[in-house]
């Protein structure tokens, strides 16, 4: 520790820290623009100049390391004179367009110029002008003349995002921030550049000119789009969500948000929102009142339970529904006498059910991942499935952690990968077995060698591993590897409440059917909560067939979706911003939130809908006043920490025979859930491009087609026409065809055989 003095205040700080860090620790503000605690030091704005005793001239606080006995003056005559001088220079070329600037009211330059600027300018010459840029549908770079060249956006891209898409071209007076050859910024974290920009140069395109910051109410919420549990500040006006910003928490999302979390809100005001209950009569959809719709549902369910039996009713719920919704749905089903309830819609292997000691979770805290020195990522489209976790692992890799990958695609993780094994899905278990064996024998190179040499090993199973037809075996192998390396292993949960679903038993407990079985052996009635079966299930073809064959389909959804084809009743429910609820993140963090706005139209929170359904069906114990009461009941006597356990035993190892081409299906980043799929700006990004059939070039030449040609991709009875493209990172014998997209929704299972032929 080092003793210094800032503005007469004695401060103890760590050696190696900078003056600005020490000052912030002590609660002393130093004006700055280019400095950001999460980014490297650039020291190019010069706003943080301070006076240091014995130094002949002012020094930049952000780039001056502390020294024993140092005396710093942040507001002395010399310091303030320097700061005011810098401010005058910054304002020389900055347009005076605050009244029409989107940043107005929340602008660092505006705020700082009140403190350090002059009321009038001594500069009367022509100001420099920088042309606007189009860098994509999310970030607006329309007014680059406002840029003060702090390079925060450039550093963010290169350091946190992992790809340098923006840079500072030219020099001196001509320096400007731009992308290479007018390219778009495609990073899945690009929205953070908007937050970082201290002026109005980079602003949010979807939010442009929608509101002033002081008109907005701020509501605390939790992201529903991945399992990290990122804190959201939902900004609303006139009962509408107008934008979403991060809530800082170093243990979760730090000060970042993925673009999916940030811009998904546009889906909340989609034209497809369902605002009135509807019943299908004689093939026509009629708008009805809630009473009629709920009685219709209750009668239908009662009839089927009384006739064919309650086990003919199946309930499916998405993993991003709230804890309360999942709890009430399973309570309702069990109250009717059916054990058929599941939220693991894209899972295909359920053989670990009953063999696990608890609820599968991350196996460590999110912060622990930063401390791991060896990380093995198994079966994960990490960057697209969990953008911020990828950023965290990227930062760990930068600080020396060795990252290894076992997967079926070789997508660029934008970080240093020490070892990787890329094999077809059918060979994934073999690849893991090899590693497990090598790790056990301690004589190893490659992935095993890397893991054995580590002190803090983390093995993470991604979405692909969880959806894999041999998921239980992968889990058992991950456990072996973790045990042999004294490390930890866990699942990066697929959705916001993947852990919560287990905690409240939204899974079959006795002889009920799991999600896959419910669709494989069709039920007479289905209750769908937030589910779009053709986009959310492991086998879209089978899901649709089951829905079409059913006598009664009750779709509770915030949207009018594909269910209009086969459902009998549509109940408008509130998305997560319009209801109170709870998500349990991958690391087991229980986070409750309130509704940010009132439900749209006649939509109602699903927990209320389920409560009334419970009452109508005369199921006991459905008299909740608030969602908190539901949560309290669901969590009663539940020790979350004790319940989280990935340990599994008694898994049978079988080799699965696979013939022909195997399908590798990712769920594209902007196709993961109903809200995201309707967020227009996200849908305009490169990541939301139409799915293609990706093949290794040798497979392509076997087919005798050129990249860019149309091919017929078939599974089961149906086929899709897709453009074919080359990806030599794929193993041979596989074709990558995304799921969760309307263009591929007629295809079958996300894993397994698939045929590709010339169209």
């Amino acid at each position: 520790m080092i003793n210094i003095e800032i503005d007469g205040k004695k401060i103890q700080t760590e050696s190696g820290s900078t003056v600005i860090e020490a000052a912030h620790q002590a609660g002393i503000a130093i004006p700055h623009f280019c400095y950001h605690k999460k980014l490297s030091i650039a020291a190019n704005c010069r706003m943080c100049l301070v006076q240091v005793e014995k130094a002949p001239k002012p020094l930049p606080a952000c780039a001056t390391p502390v020294n024993e006995g140092m005396k710093v003056f942040t507001h002395s005559e010399q310091a303030v004179k320097a700061q005011k001088g810098v401010m005058e220079f910054l304002l020389v070329n900055h347009p005076l367009d605050c009244p029409i600037c989107d940043q107005g009211g929340e602008c660092m330059l505006q705020d700082m110029s009140v403190g350090y600027g002059n009321g009038h300018s001594r500069y009367h010459e022509e100001k420099r002008m920088v042309l606007s840029k189009d860098i994509g549908p999310l970030v607006s770079a329309e007014e680059m003349s406002r840029c003060i060249n702090c390079t925060r956006c450039v550093r963010f891209g290169a350091e946190i995002g992992g790809q340098m898409e923006l840079g500072q071209a030219f020099r001196g007076e001509h320096a400007e921030i731009m992308s290479f050859v007018s390219g778009t910024v495609d990073s899945e974290l690009s929205g953070n550049m908007i937050d970082l920009c201290p002026v109005g140069a980079l602003t949010s395109k979807p939010f442009r000119y929608k509101a002033r910051s002081w008109e907005l109410s701020r509501r605390r919420s939790v992201s529903a789009h991945d399992s990290l549990g990122s804190g959201l500040a939902v900004h609303t006006k006139d009962n509408r969500v107008l934008r979403v910003l991060p809530i800082e928490n170093d243990a979760i999302n730090e000060c970042w948000l993925s673009d999916r979390d940030r811009f998904a809100y546009e889906g909340l005001s989609s034209e497809q929102r369902l605002t009135k209950p509807m019943i299908k009569q004689g093939g026509q959809w009629l708008e009805v009142d809630w009473q009629a719709a709920l009685e219709f549902c209750a009668n239908g369910l009662r009839q089927i339970a009384g006739g064919a039996g309650a086990e003919q009713i199946g309930a499916l719920v998405t993993g991003n529904s709230t804890l309360e919704e999942m709890y009430l749905l399973q309570k309702l089903m069990r109250g009717m006498g059916s054990d058929n309830v599941d939220f693991r819609l894209r899972q295909s292997d359920f053989s670990a059910d009953g063999k696990m000691q608890g609820a599968p979770w991350l196996g460590m805290s999110i912060a622990d991942i930063s401390k791991a020195d060896r990380i093995l990522i198994v079966g994960s489209f990490l960057r697209k499935d969990h953008p911020l976790l990828a950023a965290r692992i990227r930062s760990a890799a930068k600080h020396g952690a060795q990252v290894s990958v076992i997967h079926s695609t070789d997508d660029d993780l934008l970080m240093k990968v020490a070892n990787k094994t890329i094999v077809a899905p059918g060979a994934l278990v073999d690849a893991m077995t090899q590693v497990a064996k090598s790790v056990a024998s301690k004589q190893a190179d490659g992935i095993a060698g890397s893991l054995v040499s580590g002190e803090r090993v983390a093995v993470l199973l991604g979405n692909f591993a969880q959806q894999h037809p041999q998921a239980a075996q992968l889990q058992a192998l991950a456990q072996q590897i973790a045990e042999a390396t004294s490390g930890k292993f866990g699942f990066i949960g697929e959705s916001a409440n993947s852990v919560g679903g287990y905690l409240v038993n939204a899974i079959p407990a006795g002889n009920g059917l799991n999600a896959a079985a419910m669709l494989a052996t069709p039920r007479k009635a289905y209750v769908l909560l937030n589910v779009e079966p053709e986009l959310d299930c492991a086998d879209a073809q089978q899901a649709i067939a089951a829905m079409q064959a059913a006598d009664l389909v009750i779709a509770m959804s915030a949207y009018k979706h594909g269910a209009t084809e086969y459902a009998d009743v549509l109940l408008p429910i509130a998305p997560f911003t319009e209801t109170s609820g709870t998500f349990v993140s991958s690391e087991g963090r229980v986070q409750s939130f309130n509704g940010s706005v009132k439900p749209l139209g006649e939509a109602r929170p699903a927990w209320k809908v389920l409560r009334v359904l419970g009452n109508l069906l005369k199921v006991e114990g459905f008299d909740y006043e608030t969602s908190q009461a539901v949560r309290d009941e669901a969590m009663q006597g539940l020790d979350v920490a004790a319940k989280l356990n990935n340990a599994v035993s008694g898994i049978e190892f079988k080799t699965a025979a696979v013939n022909g081409l195997q399908r590798v299906a990712d769920v594209p980043i902007y196709a993961t859930d109903a809200i995201v799929r309707r967020a227009v700006s996200l849908q305009a990004t490169t990541d939301a491009a139409q799915p293609k059939a990706w093949l290794h070039s040798t497979e392509l030449s076997k087919l005798g087609v050129q990249s860019g040609a149309q091919v017929k991709v078939a599974q089961g009875q149906d086929s899709a026409l897709l453009e074919v493209a080359v990806d030599d990172g794929l193993p041979e014998g596989v074709v990558r065809v995304a799921a969760g997209h309307p263009m591929t929704a007629m295809l079958g299972a996300m894993f397994g055989t698939i045929t590709v032929e010339r169209a």
Binding site: M164, E165, L166, G167, R171, S179, F180, V181
Partner: protein, 161 residues
């Protein structure tokens, strides 16, 4: 695609730096491209980026930062006239004026036959010979007078670079 000659030269340059610091060779690589092609097209920058394993934008930053890289075709012979203080005091303005008149082009333009391009440059560190011009960043010509400029142009026309 970078030509065989260019990659050979870059490889030679790379020997000067540690194996994991390939981007150290970016300035040399851009110079080789310009020597061969007369200018550096964005596609060439992208190729250099791939070859050196660095972001395209980082190559672009370097290429736009330094004045001596041509970002557009500048003719077979690029004449760069220093217009910094010393040269200007010694008549660089007249030099530029004379060249513009003689070649029939303005600064940053190329003659119709593609032989000459005219550029403004920064201090070349030889103020004792002011005013100065530089041919293709390779050959410095000082103490310029109209007669001397005529003879330089005539030499270049005649193939004596």
């Amino acid at each position: 695609m970078l030509s065989q000659q260019i990659t050979t030269l870059i490889d030679k340059e790379l020997n000067k730096y540690p194996a994991d610091q390939r981007q150290s060779a970016v300035m040399a690589a851009l110079r080789f491209v310009q020597d061969e092609k007369g200018w550096i097209a964005p596609e060439d920058m992208a190729d250099v980026a791939v070859y050196l394993g660095m972001p395209q934008m980082a190559v672009y930053e370097v290429a736009t930062f330094y004045h001596m890289y041509n970002l557009k075709p500048m003719g077979k012979h690029t004449l760069t006239v220093c217009t910094n203080l010393s040269c200007t005091l010694c008549g660089a303005g007249d030099t530029v004026g004379y060249l513009e008149k003689k070649l029939g082009i303005k600064l940053n333009e190329v003659t119709a036959d593609g032989k000459f391009g005219l550029r403004e440059g920064e201090c070349m560190g030889a103020c004792i010979d002011a005013p100065l011009l530089n041919v293709n960043n390779k050959k410095m010509c000082g103490k310029l007078t109209p007669e001397k400029i005529d003879s330089i142009l005539a030499d270049l026309e005649g193939g004596k670079a």
